[in-house]
């Protein structure tokens, strides 16, 4: 019997452009990219050169501070380019894919009969490990630490997020194998798996503590679930994995092949026919997006509208993205009386009730653009973040402690329990347009340097 968790605070932003439940399997992209910036805090050291041939599962680079953590190519092909940005920072490693995929083969056996050390070793070697992330700090898990629990949030509650039952359809066996592996890694500590109230795909999973979660976004955020199930205290570490990546881990262990297939939802008001695609981590997005984008200035987001990263129409699917969202850019200035701050604002979506949109029926969906709808100001309004922040933490006070770089206060106010994504809704609702996620990331970086 699953524990039931009810989240009351939060909100579901009613965005237009939900994906229709049809699945198209894309032909294999020609170019793939593995992008170090997807793994916050990792400083890549290249293990291949441009022109080298790699198999799917061959390591491309490793972390400078932890050489065991390797990042592998999702396909076989030729390393065509190492894209560098400012200060020669590596932004992406591009691989020109072969016509037929060749896999590096890893010894494989049932997860259940593998020892923890052995399992860690093989996951690290194949570059499957980075699917495991840890809190505090929301970074790739450190294999030398012992987590007090491993969490899998079985669903995503963010705007236009893919339906968990749909994307895991046919993957349940792999998922179970992935959970088995997580149990080995947890070494006797619990593996918590949550599913959305009303969804059915994961209710039959064995060897995990099940939690039935209901409520508005951010109910699906793993951080919220950790907080309500077993909050992180100072000195503790938990690991977490996205559900499709649990299936990826399972598939790897069953076949010994690195095959990071993933079902991705293409969503947003600027997509002509939003639906699901079967593709691979790192695949170039152009195949998916060709013919699908509306005219005009469109922002392509790798991920959801709250936490995703701006991409371009020929960008690459992020390592942790299971959604691509396309919304209009909002570069048009808004005249005060018509569409600006004095306008009636029938097209403005707002959590506050100062726009009439809250009177509209719940079924009404909104086409929102990227305009910030105002300029950055000091904190003025209070009590706003708390409405969408289901933690026993004072969000504004935590942000202020980070702004003034007071490590002691950050620790006391609960920095270990949060990640930028948990502040995404705060950032969305903020009257003063403060970049809460960026501030939290800075705080986490500072704390990580100081305390570890």
């Amino acid at each position: 019997m699953a524990n039931s968790i009810k989240i009351r605070k939060g909100t579901d932003i009613r965005l237009a452009g939900e994906a229709e439940k049809t699945l198209e399997t894309l032909k294999r992209a020609r170019v793939f990219a593995v992008r170090p910036p997807d793994f916050h805090g990792v400083i890549p050291r290249m293990m291949v050169k441009e022109g080298d041939r790699v198999l799917a599962g061959d390591a491309l680079f490793h972390d400078k501070y932890n050489e065991a953590i390797k990042f592998s190519s999702p396909v076989s092909g030729e390393v065509s380019e190492v894209v560098r940005g400012e200060k020669r920072r590596i932004l992406a490693v591009l691989i020109k894919a072969d016509a037929a995929n060749e896999y590096r083969s890893f010894s494989h056996q049932n997860a259940a009969s593998t020892k923890k050390e052995e399992l860690i070793k093989i996951l690290l070697e194949a570059g499957v490990w980075p699917f495991l992330r840890q809190r505090p700090y929301a970074v790739v898990a450190d294999p030398t630490l012992s987590p007090k629990a491993i969490f899998v949030s079985g669903f995503d509650s963010s705007p236009l997020a893919p339906d968990p039952d749909f994307v895991l359809n046919g993957e349940i066996e792999n998922f179970q194998e992935g959970i088995n592996a997580l149990n080995i890694l947890a070494a006797g500590k619990p593996v918590h798996l949550s599913y959305k109230k009303g969804s059915s795909a994961l209710t039959g999973i064995q060897k995990a503590t099940l939690h039935e979660v209901s409520g508005p976004h951010p109910a699906g955020n793993v951080g919220v679930q950790i907080h309500h199930i077993d909050p992180i205290n100072k000195g503790e570490v938990v690991w977490y994995v996205d559900p499709q990546d649990v299936a990826n881990i399972g598939r790897f262990l069953k076949t010994g092949k690195v095959d990071f297939t993933r079902v991705v939802a293409l969503t947003g008001s600027e997509v002509k026919a939003p639906k699901y695609y079967r593709t691979t981590v790192g695949a170039q997005l152009s195949d998916m997006l060709s013919g699908q984008l509306s005219e005009g200035n469109v922002r392509v987001i790798n991920g959801n509208v709250l936490t995703g990263e701006t991409s371009s129409a020929d960008g690459y699917l992020g390592y942790f993205s299971h959604q691509v969202t396309c919304i209009p850019e909002g570069t048009e200035p808004q005249f005060l009386l018509t569409t600006g701050w004095l306008g009636l604002g029938f097209d403005k979506y707002s959590i506050s009730r100062s726009f009439p949109t809250w009177l509209m029926p719940k079924s009404k969906k909104f086409k929102l653009n990227t305009n910030s709808n105002g300029e950055e100001r000091a904190f003025v309004v209070t009590g706003q973040y708390e409405e969408v922040f289901p933690f026993d933490i004072y969000p504004v006070q935590l942000l202020k402690s980070i702004i003034v770089n007071d490590l002691d206060a950050m620790e006391k106010l609960g920095i270990y329990e949060v990640a930028p994504e948990d502040f995404a809704l705060c950032e969305y609702v903020c009257t003063s347009k403060i970049d809460a996620q960026r501030i939290i990331r800075e705080g986490l970086d500072t704390a990580r340097i100081e305390f570890s």
Binding site: V305, T325, E329, P333, W341, S352, V381
Partner: protein, 407 residues
Amino acid sequence: MKGLHNFIDKKLKPNFTEGGKLSKFWVVFDALETFAFTPGHVTKSGAHIRDGIDLKRTMFMVILALVPCLLFGTWNAGHQYYASIGQEADLWAKLGVGALKVLPLVVVSYGVGLGIEFVFAGIRKHSINEGFLVSGMLIPLIMPVDVPLWMVAIATAFAVIIGKEVFGGTGMNILNIALTSRAFLFFAYPKQMSGEIWIHDVAANKTAGLLVDGHTGATALGHLANTVGKAADSAEVKGIMAQFEPGGMFSFENSFLGLIPGSIGETSTLACLIGAAILLFTGIGSWRIMLSFLIGGLTMGWLFNLAGANAFMGVSPLHQVVMGGFMFGLVFMATDPVTAAQTATGKLIYGFFGGFLSIMIRVFNGAYPEGVMMAVLFMNVMAPLIDHYVIQANINRRMKRSALQTA
């Protein structure tokens, strides 16, 4: 509107940008441009979409909520004037007299306040914050009708510079700006502020012998303060208290509707309640503060009833809260998010003691009949302390949890 924006962007803007001949006035230009056109700024980091609300909209909602008080106050200024000299007058005559008194106050308040904001924004090279849009409207509404304009100008300047800018501007101040200006006048010009200024021209009319019997130009609380220290059954006290009975000048009904002398915007509880409805409906005002403030005031009023040491204490709690600035302070002053407590629990404590002290000060201290101002300013000072303890409780919970785990 595209044409207008193009004209501003292409023709006017270059004059104000770096190197332009009017670049010193960039702040002013920027403020006016962003006032007219929400800029086409798009999100760069974090959430790609943002809520429709911004500080301008928030402040505008508060101003909207103040409009009933402003309109009623304007009318009442005229109404009190004609009532004091016993003349009948129609709606427009009353509004006319009122507008002649109120509009200059509004103009002076905004002129002085915004002028200072512009100068500071220019010096600090940041854009102009919207905070004063509300303060500039609050200041005239808590002034007596006959307050000299130069005093309002000085008070506004004091409040904006010492109350706000020295702390870093909007969002950084400790004390409510509008109340700071009022407190400044109260202490800097006690003679002028306690004199006969609550009804237009009442002093001159008194000298000329034009006043109607019973009109002294004093406010309800001024009258009540006079009863303190006198025997409850003396003729004088009885005479005063009769005015608070049904049908009297300061009856519950008159006090609720606001047909009594007082600061311009504060007299009508009804207008304040309409404002409160707007603030609560839009979610901009804190219901926690409003509710707990009211409960605090009623509790103190009830406790005074129990004590009943003098006639003032005997006034019913409901009558207490509709008199003076209590409701105006409750709806518009105590709820100022910057100076109030910031935590949900803190707001309840802050509001309760705000209301509690308002009634306590007005009854105990005859020199300060307007207890709300003192109470809210005092609670402004206490708010960070309240928050500190609320947050400390949260921290302790976390520490305790941590200790349990390791034990």
